[in-house]
């Protein structure tokens, strides 16, 4: 029966109301998990706070498992789910640029909105930077238009890429996540011993 809106079960007019409600839930969870603090977020790179990894991996794992069960039960049609298309080389470049931006800015777009909500000036500057960055990208788009569309692999799934079933990949991913949870917990304990407290 799902997804509800593409199937026409919920009329299109509700689209934006639902977007707002989902956004509120998303923002609430982000803020409540501590993503409104850039020092909290970047802790994942220095080993003193792995909250990003924990929240992120748990969320991916829960959603991944849920989607596949729901598909199995016939509650949701995976064929109608938007699978992000893969453009190999632009995505590699983009991810690397984002990685550097992540370390410098200490936010990602979603978390910066919640940080603005609780009054962080750095988050406002970050969002301003985002605006400028996308503007620059559009302005200079003709120079790398060809690159932008290169390496198109279509809506390929992880399972298709590695030649395994998506369910098997889910299991592998869960195991990796659990191992990561354990390892980062040990690391965090060790790093925090040698660290001074920091203000938020």
């Amino acid at each position: 029966m799902g997804p509800l809106i593409p199937q026409g079960i919920i009329p299109m007019g509700w689209d934006f109301v639902i977007a707002l409600l989902i956004g509120i839930a998303f923002g609430f969870v982000l803020e409540a998990s501590g993503f409104s603090s850039s020092r909290n977020i970047t802790g994942v790179f220095y080993g003193y706070n792995f909250v990003v990894l924990r929240v992120f991996f748990t969320a991916v794992v829960v959603a991944m498992i849920g989607l596949q069960y729901f598909d199995y039960f016939g509650w949701i049609d995976l064929n109608q789910i938007y699978v992000l298309p893969t453009y190999l080389s632009p995505m590699i470049v983009g991810a690397i640029i984002m990685g550097v931006g992540f370390i410098l800015g200490g936010f990602c777009p979603g978390t910066s909105y919640t940080a603005i909500a609780i009054g962080k000036i750095d988050a406002m500057v970050f969002t301003g930077g985002l605006f400028l960055g996308i503007f620059l990208f559009s302005e200079f788009f003709p120079f790398f238009e060809q690159f932008y569309y290169s390496g198109n692999m279509g809506n390929i799934t992880i399972g298709e890429f590695f030649g395994i079933s998506n369910t098997l990949f889910t299991l592998i991913f869960v195991v990796i996540a659990v191992v990561a949870f354990y390892v980062t917990w040990r690391i965090e304990l060790r790093v925090r011993k040698n660290m001074t407290q920091y203000k938020f």
């Binding site: 593409p6 069960y69 199995y72 992000l84 869960v174 996540a177 659990v178 949870f181």
Partner: protein
């Protein structure tokens, strides 16, 4: 470490492993055989030649005529606006997208009921909706629309009205509107819907 964490992680791994042991699911969107049988025994899939003639004359935008006869037959003669889709094409992967029209009514026809009925059953099984069969096919089309038989004098007024309509339709399909009659293939300008488009996302 809190033992609840161990339980949590255990649950996650179990859930993921559970996905693997689930029996293979019939992943297709094919119609359940029981429902298909239910549809088969209903006569509701048939539309009469008169209805179709009326729809063609009124240029009903919801009508999509599908000729399931072999291509040669289609080229020799076809109903106005029809497009050719031989029964064999149902075996290809393109069948579903090619026959998916948003909220429009597909009417299959062949020489009589048999081939169109068979195509209907397969299309229905493939999960297509809003498909119908032209009752009596082209044979009845000729009998009723192109060469209508005058009712007996004792016939009811309704029958005479029908006959009058058929005579008009006959005129329309043979003499009155050669432009339509002669260029059906050229007019196959059916706006086809692409495969159910996945919702677009983006960040």
């Amino acid at each position: 470490m809190n033992k609840n964490y161990i339980i949590l992680m255990g649950i996650l791994i179990l859930l993921a492993a559970g996905l693997l042991v689930l029996p293979l699911k019939n992943n297709s969107k094919q119609l359940d055989p029981e429902k298909l049988m239910w549809d088969i025994v209903q006569p509701t899939r048939y539309v009469s030649t008169d209805e179709v003639a009326k729809m063609i004359i009124e240029r009903d935008p919801l009508l999509v005529l599908v000729d399931v006869r072999p291509t040669e037959d289609f080229q020799a003669f076809s109903l106005p606006t029809a497009f050719s889709f031989p029964v064999d094409s149902l075996a290809t992967d393109d069948a579903i997208p090619a026959l998916t029209f948003d909220k429009r009514n597909l009417v299959l026809y062949s020489n009589d009921d048999l081939k169109s009925d068979q195509a209907w059953i397969i299309a229905k099984r493939l999960g297509l909706k809003n498909i119908y069969v032209l009752k009596g096919g082209l044979n009845r089309w000729i009998q009723t629309i192109i060469q209508p038989e005058a009712p007996a004098e004792s016939a009811s007024e309704a029958e005479f009205n029908l006959y009058a309509f058929r005579q008009g339709a006959s005129q329309y399909f043979t003499g009155g509107s050669i432009s339509i009659e002669q260029g059906p293939q050229a007019e196959v300008n059916v706006s086809r819907k692409k495969k159910a488009k996945a919702a677009e996302g983006g960040c």
